[in-house]
């Protein structure tokens, strides 16, 4: 029994946008409205994600501001913040609201600006991103977010023999996929050799192992499974798992296991009555190449330690047996923090409708999204399926 249905999906192109957060969100929201064939009068609530607007743009209380631009003022609006898993958490709560009858139809999405259009340079944005690490026991060391995932990935390399070349294969694949996504920030043919020639950011990560700073917004219209029958192209949400892990990193028994992702995936598979083997594709949180490898193991696509060799062998490519990040992922599509979670839902919706054009996974019927926040202490995993 599905929990809810997505009946409309929209997103802006991810990249550089010199428009306000509310304008950005309106672009995605109105696309989602048009896709669903609804207007503001059909929507009962807004679940909005933005991670850092207070720090980056002195802009808070964003849910009613975003709602006001699109004729939604009046309905209950709420904002979520869970670092990079911000809008997946908004989505989880939206699904729960329509499932339990709190609301009939809701708009859920997110917006963020991370490029220098905010007036902030790399050092200031690096500091703001680092605010998601432990304030007292990690930030004083000068740890950055590339650093957080570098620490996890280096231990993974130590335990399993994962190589820098295998990491580079993830970047090559996701950039190749990004070419086929008109909303992607980047996308190009590149090679492992070219990736390995880019400057080091935090070893083992080079520039091409890291997702870009992006601006953008995404939105979906979620309704109850009963109401979904009256829409043209509903896609069912059959499971949403959400788990957290202890902070700081040092208190996690095995940090590179990303235990919250394993727990969230187990919940999502259990709710949907599915297994990893049944998934036709996954969108995972590849903020860094090593993060995709750890995610691919956490969601059960590959055995522990096999994520690197699988990427190298092309198993996670568009034509592989376990396609991962057909959208280009955070790596190539871009990562406007608060917009990333629902952008994954947009991609799942397009794939399961068969509308993903040159990046379409043929015959996709079940798909998974993995959106991770902070030092892997938050993860939301969603399973969506073609409507039966």
């Amino acid at each position: 029994m599905p929990r809810a249905s997505v009946v409309g999906a929209g997103m802006t192109k991810f990249g550089v946008h010199d428009s306000t957060l509310s304008e950005l969100f309106a672009g995605a929201a109105l696309s989602a409205f048009d896709d669903a064939g609804v207007g503001p009068d059909d929507v009962d609530a807004l679940y909005f994600g933005n991670a850092m607007g207070g720090q980056t743009e002195n802009d808070t209380h964003l849910a009613p501001k975003a709602a006001s631009r699109i004729g939604l003022a009046g309905v209950p609006c709420q904002r979520y913040e869970d670092a990079c898993a911000t809008s997946a958490n908004a989505f989880k709560n939206a699904v729960h609201a329509v499932e339990t009858g709190v609301h009939d139809t809701v708009l859920v999405g997110g917006a963020e600006r991370c490029t220098p259009v905010t007036g902030l340079g790399t050092d200031e944005m690096t500091r703001i991103f680092a605010s998601a690490s432990d304030r007292h026991y990690e930030q004083p060391t000068g740890l950055t977010f590339p650093g957080v995932f570098a620490l996890l990935t280096k231990r993974h390399m130590h335990e399993y023999g994962t190589t820098e070349e295998q990491l580079a294969h993830v970047a090559v694949k996701n950039h190749a996929n990004g070419q086929f996504n008109p909303n992607a920030h980047f996308g190009k043919e590149t090679t492992v050799e070219e990736v390995l020639e880019t400057p080091v950011i935090a070893d083992p990560f080079r520039l091409m192992d890291c997702c870009p700073f992006s601006d953008g917004a995404s939105a979906v219209v979620v309704t109850s499974t009963d109401r979904a029958d009256s829409f043209d192209a509903p896609v069912d949400v059959s499971g949403v798992g959400h788990a957290t892990d202890v902070v700081p990193l040092g208190a996690k028994p095995v940090p590179h296991h990303t235990q919250a992702a394993r727990d969230a995936a187990a919940q999502a598979y259990d709710q949907s009555g599915t297994t990893a083997d049944e998934m036709d594709l996954a969108e995972v949180h590849d903020c860094f190449t090593g993060a995709e490898i750890m995610a691919s193991e956490a969601i059960g696509f590959f055995e522990d330690g096999e994520g690197g060799p699988a990427a190298e062998a092309g198993r996670s490519a568009l034509d592989g047996d376990r396609p991962i990040n057909p959208s280009g992922g955070l790596k190539a599509k871009g990562h406007p923090i608060g917009a990333t979670g629902t952008a994954q839902i947009v991609e799942l919706t397009e794939q399961l409708r068969g509308d993903a054009e040159d990046r379409q996974i043929s015959g996709a019927e079940k798909a998974l999204a993995h959106n991770l926040g902070g030092d892997a202490a938050t993860t939301v995993v969603t399973v969506m399926e073609v409507r039966g």
Binding site: T126, R127, D134, H136, P140, T141, L151, L152, P204, G250
Partner: protein
Amino acid sequence: MSALTHEQWAEALREGDLLGVTCTDCGRTYATPFLVCDECKSRDLERTALPREGVVYSETTIQVPPRDFDGPYQVGMVEVDGAKVMARLEGGAAIGDRVVFDDVLEEGGDPAPVFRVEE
């Protein structure tokens, strides 16, 4: 009554002592304060002095630092008595190397431990 507050942890660090908490029920040790044991959920945590020597669990060199820091520098997790503490590393430490707590860094406003590779 907290076994260890951040203020006490930071003051001890500045004086050259690395403190943590140990769960008296399950025995797990943490290198930072907790009010409840993450492992067994007991509230019976007691303050513990962690050893000055540890082993590098993971490490990376930050080439692109945040505002207020000057890079490059090495950061890592150090295992001390079964707990892992985030620290600044000196001397080119690799995973598995023995390191010694011998300095405190205050670039970020709060103190952080500095561990150096053992000669």
